[in-house]
Subunit: 218 residues, 2 copies
């Protein structure tokens, strides 16, 4: 019956940002559509005008976060900087990104499993629903692929360093996982009010991790 003034600029983008924040606090399952809607001054029903359903909204949140960080790190990985410098900057960008948007950062760590266990629609669903589900699954798989590509950016630089002698002979796969684990964890414990800024934390971690693998002589 009633209506909101139309200048509210509640678009897809705004909903995604708000959703990320709510998700960070409560986690996917504990977050209701009503919660998310309230964060943008809408009702739950209105969200369905912008997103097919709750799963699609979660996926959108994660996609935005992932694309952002890939956008930040990919150019560095493909630049012609010295390998050590490349890795240092990539670590820095990743961590700073996580601390600047802890909502998305935490979602990337915690909510991915929610995506994995999305359940199929009811057996007596319409063909439309089944088709929509297929589409969703495809999109979700693309997301996972993209996430692997992101990890691969780091892996490639690490391998490059080993190959050109910048780094010691280390296990590339394990070191990459170790690195990303350390990064992701920052998104979990970081607080804007803490002793160090995101940049400072990034520098400290980059130093430590690089120090562990840089070739001493040469």
């Amino acid at each position: 019956m009633a209506r909101k003034p139309a200048d509210q600029s509640v678009n897809r983008e705004a909903i995604i940002v708000a959703a990320a924040e709510v998700l960070q606090k409560n986690g996917y399952e504990a977050t209701t559509m009503k919660d998310i809607a309230a964060a943008v001054n809408l009702t739950a029903a209105s969200l369905y005008h912008h997103f097919k359903n709750k799963d699609a909204l979660l996926l959108a949140v994660l996609e935005v976060g992932l694309e952002y960080i890939i956008q930040q790190t990919e150019p560095i990985a493909h630049s012609d900087l010295p390998t050590v410098e490349k890795l240092r900057r990539m670590i820095r960008e990743h961590i700073v990104g996580l601390t600047q948007n802890t909502a998305v950062g935490a979602a990337m760590v915690f909510e991915i499993r929610a995506l994995m266990s999305v359940k199929a629609p009811y057996r007596n669903a319409h063909d439309d629903d089944k088709e929509a589900f297929e589409t969703f699954i495809k999109r979700r798989d693309s997301f996972f692929l993209r996430r692997d590509q992101f990890e691969n950016l780091f892996r490639l630089v690490v391998r490059e360093g080993v190959d050109n002698g910048s780094f010691r002979t280390i296990d590339v796969a394990i070191f990459t996982k170790t690195l990303l684990g350390a990064h992701n964890w920052v998104g979990v414990w970081y607080r804007p009010t803490g002793r160090l800024s995101g940049e400072e934390i990034a520098d400290v971690i980059a130093d430590t991790m690089l120090n562990g693998v840089i070739t001493s002589r040469k």
Copy 2:
């Protein structure tokens, strides 16, 4: 009406182990009491004979996992081994523990947030319920405290190393977080069928992390 043979030995312990496994696959919210019950050949109702409710069961799972790993690492932290050796063994024990019980390991990472957002019982609850809730909250807070104590074991050893010159002058807090982040992440990606065993992974990571902080000369 019917009954199960009594030799099934479905005790608290067995339920906790099974619950950890189910939780690992689906996450707390997506796991139903029925799922957990099925894993031990019971009905959901029967679980309430062993645990007050779902939250209490989750807490029990996490408590067991945490106590186990503390039991493994605390003696090392307090031993009179050289600092470097202490830290190496602690890293090793932690990671090996995580790979041996990936269920609990993943739960420690993913499900802690579920614990944090436990909601109070209904407003019109009996006094009994309210009291039980208080008790639960206390127990949960003890768990968080215990988790901090665990982290502190690592922090103390790192500080000791800095103080006695075994380690470079690093930021103790950040390095500890970095270390634990790398460890926890192993619980997320490790697969028993992978290229390396838990022990091998532990050794590789310990080497890398220690290499980053050990004093070169001396």
